[in-house]
């Protein structure tokens, strides 16, 4: 079997006194999509930020294609160029056009010539249904469109894995669908993904495996139908029951 694309080995992270991640073990195979669900504050976002080296872990290792990336000697910039992180709040660059948002990383970060990077970005935006919006400023777009641009921006460099951090949480309900469709497009192309979400239908539909994160521990992980319908662990059962009562499943 091939080495996993992304691997967490006993990853521990604290912010001051507060333990956020506690001995996380997780392997994500090539072409696999893994969703991590859990209450807000359970550490989902921190997992992704640690993998993209925006946060330093305290213990354990994270590996990308079998290589430890959390070693202090590793060049963080070159690791980030192999991963694509998408944020809950989109974080598009407001002073740049849609096209420039997608091109900037390819051009400055990867040293791809402008013309080539632009051509690829245009094709990418078209594929994600954003043709005609290339020259708009991001604030002229709806939330759903902005998040799709953010997906295009993160995917522009064909990363080894995409890290999606609550990509639908900031959206009005009627805009969630278009973003999910975009994620599904990437999924169907076999893009390896680690997804933090509390959108259960999203997890069910897109993920090959779903893990439940509770107080910084990965309580259980398995196929979506098992985790979301017949969870084994009492914490997972309680979490799903609360969601059900709130009408979120």
């Amino acid at each position: 079997m091939n080495a996993p694309v992304l691997e967490f080995r006993g990853v521990t992270k604290a912010f001051g006194e507060r333990d956020v991640l506690h001995g996380i073990d997780l392997e994500i195979a090539e072409h696999e999509a893994v969703a991590v669900i859990g209450a807000s504050g359970s550490g989902k976002s921190t997992m992704l930020r640690c993998a993209d080296l925006l946060e330093e872990i305290d213990d354990g290792d994270i590996l990308l294609d079998g290589e430890v990336i959390t070693d202090p000697s590793v060049d963080a910039v070159s690791v980030r160029r192999r991963l694509g992180l998408v944020f809950q709040a989109y974080n598009l660059f407001p002073h740049l056009s849609v096209l420039e948002n997608v091109v900037l990383g390819r051009w400055r970060g990867h040293g791809v010539p402008t013309g080539e990077a632009e051509e690829a970005a245009r094709a990418q935006l078209k594929r994600l249904g954003l043709e005609g919006r290339e020259d708009d400023q991001p604030d002229r777009l709806s939330g759903g469109q902005q998040q799709r641009v953010a997906l295009a921006r993160a995917f522009a460099a064909r990363p080894r894995a995409m890290l999606l951090d609550e990509v639908t949480s900031a959206l009005d309900p009627e805009l969630v669908g278009e973003v999910l469709a975009t994620v599904r497009t990437l999924r169907d192309e076999g893009v390896t993904m680690l997804i933090a979400t509390h959108e259960m239908s999203f997890a069910r539909e897109v993920a090959d495996r779903v893990g439940y994160l509770h107080d910084g521990r990965l309580v259980e992980i398995g196929p979506p139908e098992q985790i979301l319908s017949e969870p084994r662990e009492p914490e997972t059962q309680r979490f799903l029951r609360r969601l059900l009562e709130a009408g979120r499943v």
Partner: protein, 278 residues
């Protein structure tokens, strides 16, 4: 249903009339209160016992006509000093702000210097700096240092305003959301690239109005270089003319010239702020 449909146009006309009446009343009140306040002030000044003296000493049309061309010519020097100092300040202040923002350990001594510099030079009155630089540097008797008062005055203004403007830039840099840096790093930019292509452009756009505000202050403070003997500066020229016959009208001429630059700048600033608020 029919009755409401019939009543509607009347109600609409009534409301329209009430709104117009309210606007008219507002305009009338504004006009009356303006006349009362400004008229009162005018009466107070014009009937004061010393007004005839003040009028002759400060607002003499003949003296104004005689002195204005010289003062206006001298004002050209103010404009040149202002423009040159402003450009240097904009560049240096950005450097100071960036030094205070970067976290590289090797740059610690520079960061410390930049912090001390900004604290000290913002805390010292500009007029004192003009004296210190204007008389202190020539007194050092070192070769190669400038000795012309206008250059020394320019240096003093630059030192003071660079400190102020660096703080404006720094506030701008800090106001850019952390998520922008995260996003820039996430797409594979280095820290420096993130600063240059993502954070700095947003910061500079945000600080436009406060920067313009400091421009206005600088434009007025150029007059301070007169105190170290810069010949041909507008305020100085007006002062000399006033001293020759104890008539201060030339100073009013100088004041009008300063206003001719600062008022349009202030209006520009207002409009900019309104556009940004939209």
């Amino acid at each position: 249903m029919e009755s409401t449909a019939e009543r509607r146009p009347d109600r609409r006309a009534e409301r329209e009339a009430a709104r117009r009446a309210k606007t008219r009343r507002g305009l009338l009140i504004a006009a009356v209160s303006t006349v009362v306040v400004l008229g009162g002030l005018a009466v107070l000044i014009l009937t004061s016992p010393g007004w005839p003296d003040v009028r002759d000493k400060f607002f003499d049309p003949e003296v104004f006509k005689d002195s204005f061309p010289d003062v206006a010519e001298a004002f050209w020097l103010d404009i040149r000093v202002f423009c040159i100092v402003e450009v240097i300040v904009l560049v240096l202040a950005l450097g100071v702000a960036l030094l205070r923002t970067v976290r590289a350990p090797a740059l610690f001594p520079l960061r410390l210097l930049a912090t001390v510099y900004a604290d000290v030079f913002r805390g010292v009155p500009v007029i004192l700096l003009v004296y210190l630089v204007g008389f202190g540097i020539p007194a050092l008797d070192l070769q190669g240092l400038p000795s012309e008062p206008v250059v020394l005055g320019g240096i003093a203004l630059t030192l003071s305003y660079t400190a102020y403007v660096s703080e404006v830039y720094r506030a701008g840099l800090r106001s850019v959301h952390r998520g922008q840096r995260d996003a820039a790093l996430a797409i594979g930019l280095t820290e420096q690239q993130a600063m240059r292509h993502v954070i700095l452009p947003q910061a500079v756009r945000r600080v436009g109005p406060p920067l313009l505000n400091d421009f206005i202050a600088l434009q007025k403070d150029v007059a301070l270089i007169a105190i170290i003997g810069v010949a041909g500066e507008a305020f100085r020229v007006a002062q000399i003319q006033a001293a020759s016959d104890f008539n201060y009208t030339p100073l009013i001429a100088a004041a009008l010239l300063y206003l001719a630059v600062t008022v349009p700048l202030a209006r520009l600033l207002d409009r900019w702020d309104i556009e940004r608020a939209r």
